[in-house]
């Protein structure tokens, strides 16, 4: 009997020893601490204004008191339910932005302005800012986020850390850094030296207004032809090596190359173009479809591209080139984008890591 018990005990002990490492598994299976479906955000549509919408609803309670401040040309302050302190400006008075003795020039209040507001230089706004009228920043200011129901002008060397959205124009002067999302319902203009990541507007312009008009160097191809946003209706041409399309050539199909691709000056492609290596588009080329490079892409001056433009590594764009049209907006996307002054785009420009506006000498 003792031997039987000992044997049984040994089996139980051995079994228990083997089961010991499984204790976390049994615990998780029983208590279901992490048994929810992965959080796939079903309602998120990738809208660039996502955060501005969120802030608008967060600050909705401020709009009523702000109107009262505007009516009385006064100011008010208080604390939102989540603990954020706010300042309502019913008149263009910026004296209260900084508490007395604040030598670091940091404003840690949510600001809501009901009138046109011009900010002093060098202030850091650590919380979001709302302006129902035009907002004109100061030089060297830093903003966490800005929502404006009119326009925004960011003076030289300002920074936006998270996002900015304006119902009217956004204009960033030289050397501004625009991290995160910047969107406008009308137009965004970035001057030289600006850093950007994600821009979205019906019209995006780089450089001073004098460069905004597109030169007529690039004639529209086949004005009577239907541009192909999806190109294969015209068939596609597969090329296993490098390809160079001569200047002035008209290609009536899509092109896919395994090697690098050069499109000569003034060439016109009625379909889409894909290169698995470097792609170079010489000046004045016109692409009716999309332009995709698996590595790097250089787009010369005064090119016109209707469809999406994607480079998996770097993209450089020379002055006068134009992406999309006012009627057919598009996306220009690459991890790194260098844009010369004088470029125009309609839709989205998305530099996942960094985008720069440069002046060509």
């Amino acid at each position: 009997m003792t031997a039987v018990l000992a044997t049984a005990g040994l089996f139980v002990l051995t079994g228990a020893t083997f089961l010991l490492p499984l204790i976390p598994a049994f615990v998780e299976f029983h208590f279901k601490r992490d048994a929810q479906a992965l959080n796939v955000i079903q309602q998120y549509a990738g809208d660039i204004r996502h955060f501005s919408f969120g802030f608008r609803s967060y600050a909705a309670d401020l709009l009523g008191p702000l109107k009262e401040c505007v009516a009385s040309a006064g100011t008010a302050s208080g604390t939102l339910p989540h603990g954020d302190r706010y300042l309502l400006l019913g008149r263009p008075d910026t004296a209260q932005l900084l508490s007395p003795g604040n030598s670091e020039k940091t404003c840690d209040l949510i600001i809501a302005a009901g009138t046109e507001l011009t900010l002093p230089d060098g202030i850091t706004f650590a919380k979001e800012m709302y302006a129902s009228r035009n907002l004109i920043g100061g030089e060297n200011c830093t903003y966490r986020a800005i929502l404006a129901d009119a326009g925004i002008r960011l003076r030289r060397a300002s920074k936006v850390i998270r996002w900015a959205h304006a119902a009217e124009d956004i204009h960033a002067e030289q050397d501004c850094d625009l991290y995160g999302r910047v969107s406008s319902d009308r137009k965004i203009t970035l001057e030289s030296g600006c850093f950007f990541q994600r821009l979205h507007a019906p019209h995006i312009s780089f450089g001073p207004a004098s460069l905004s008009a597109l030169p007529n160097a690039a004639p529209r191809v086949g004005a009577s032809a239907e541009p192909f946003s999806i190109s294969v209706a015209a068939g596609r041409r597969l090329v296993d090596e490098d390809l160079e399309i001569p200047a002035g050539e008209i290609v009536r199909s899509s092109i896919v190359t395994r090697g690098s691709l050069r499109i000569g000056a003034g060439a016109q492609i009625l379909g889409s173009v894909k290169s698995n290596h470097h792609m170079a588009i010489d000046s004045g080329a016109v692409i009716a479809g999309s332009l995709i490079s698996a590595t790097t892409m250089h787009i010369g001056a005064n090119c016109q591209i209707t469809g999406p433009v994607i480079a998996e590594q770097e993209m450089t764009i020379e002055s006068g080139s134009r992406f999309g049209t006012a009627e057919k907006s598009t996306t220009v996307s690459a991890p790194v984008i260098e844009v010369a002054e004088g470029v125009q785009a309609f839709g989205t420009i998305w530099a996942r890591y960094e985008g720069y506006v440069v002046t060509r000498k």
Binding site: Q42, I292, P308, W350
Partner: protein, 413 residues
């Protein structure tokens, strides 16, 4: 016998190395998502096919979800492919048609060959758009999913696109939790690594898309295939079209909740995969076509994944045979080293992959269930081997391939 065993160990080692390569790439390599930032475009016309065979439990969910997406309504047509349903599927679809005039055009099929591929093939008479998206009826697409799946088609090299499948009914029982882990490893690591490394991401036949001109070039849907998605992947590849995987284009699905349904599902997958291996394997490796060398190798290994189950079983039997035969090269040292190395590294590879996937998904506790996966693998290895044997025996027994629809478990109407 010993050389046969060595060969099997070598093949298993190859797959082990592949698992590690994929996992390390996902953890430390450059991640390719080239099309995901395309959020503004002149979006093309798209037809969305929803394959439905007796789907009264789920069909209303996907139709409602599709009516709520942010794709321009005038450029999107939903075609529920009602394949010989005998339940209320037709009635539910017709009700949606009335509620959303012009946006849904049903294809009711009451006769013809069985199977999803055959139904899709017949439904093509309603399709005239260059981009076609395909969903199974148990999927629930999110608001932005259609644009994400269409965006890769702006690339003229892309013939097919595949999104990520995310189980919705995770917490139901042990099986659903294990399938959640397996799906996570398969998509978050395997598929995305293949995308990163420019290998062969697999078309999954749902949460997926195909270009009409590419489909026509390859001869349309193959209604003799049990896995039309695998078949499509390889025919696209052989004709110079790329299939791309979009890891951030996630869509909920319902996974099987009973082992019986799971076994039937994986047996169908195995048979279909093996069909594709027989049809395209050698041509992919050695034929004249446009696939690159790395695509040829990876594509062949991908075709072979379901063959590995019977091969592993054979390896176990051979190992026993070798032991009882007293065959012990180098006095058993090689056997000892092999077992130790495989237990420590090789056997762990698939688990490592799933653990990495859980980490990439920022999930914490579910990783504790990893040891239970041995149960799922055990069931799979025998089911897949059974499928393989029945396939081998089919010419002798006269058995016909037939389509086993995956049962649904959702209870809300």
């Amino acid at each position: 016998m010993i050389y046969c065993l060595f060969a099997i160990v070598a093949v298993i080692s190859l797959y082990t190395a592949r698992h590690y390569w994929f996992t390390l790439n996902r953890l430390f390599g450059f991640q390719r998502h080239p099309y995901i930032d395309t959020d503004t475009a002149d979006w093309p016309q798209v037809t969305i096919l929803v394959a439905a065979h007796n789907e009264e439990k789920v069909i209303s969910h996907i139709l409602a979800a599709l009516m709520g997406v942010n794709y321009p309504p005038e450029k999107m047509l939903v075609v529920p492919v009602n394949d010989r349903s005998t339940d209320r599927t037709r009635e539910i679809i017709d009700r949606f048609c009335e509620d959303h005039p012009g946006r849904i055009r049903p294809f009711h099929r009451s006769a013809g060959k069985g199977g999803k591929a055959a139904a899709l093939k017949d439904a093509m008479e309603l399709v005239d758009t260059e981009v076609i998206l395909i969903f199974d009826a148990d999927y629930i697409p999110g608001t932005g999913l259609i644009k994400q799946l269409v965006a890769p088609f702006f690339d003229p090299e892309v013939g097919g696109v595949m999104g990520r499948v995310v189980p919705l009914n995770v917490g139901t029982n042990l099986l659903t939790r294990l399938l959640d882990l397996e799906r996570s490893g398969g998509y978050q690591v395997d598929q995305q690594a293949r995308m990163n490394l420019r290998l062969v991401p697999q078309h999954g036949g749902t949460v997926a898309g195909v270009r009409l001109s590419a489909l026509r070039e390859i001869g349309g849907w193959n209604d003799n295939s049990l896995t039309e998605d695998t078949d499509l992947t390889y025919r696209l590849l052989l004709h110079g079209w790329k299939t791309v995987y979009q890891n951030r284009s996630e869509c909920y699905e319902e996974v099987p909740e009973t082992w019986h349904v799971r076994v039937k599902q994986i047996m169908r997958w195995a048979k279909g995969h093996n069909q594709a291996l027989a049809s395209y394997g050698l041509h992919l490796l050695f034929g004249r076509h446009r696939a690159t060398l790395r695509e040829r190798i990876d594509g062949f290994l991908l075709l072979g994944v379901y063959i590995m189950a019977p091969v592993t079983l054979l390896g176990w039997l051979l190992a026993l045979g070798v032991f009882y035969e007293g065959i012990a090269p180098l006095h058993g040292v090689i056997a000892l080293l092999s077992i130790t190395a495989y237990s420590a590294v090789g056997n762990f590879a698939a688990f490592f992959e799933i653990a990495a996937a859980a980490r990439l998904d920022y999930t914490r506790q579910r990783i504790c269930l990893l040891p239970f996966l041995i149960l799922g693998f055990g069931v799979s290895i025998f089911s897949v081997s059974r499928a393989f044997i029945s396939q081998l025996m089919a010419p002798l027994t006269g058995a016909q391939f037939h389509w086993d629809k995956t049962e649904r478990f959702r209870t809300t109407p």
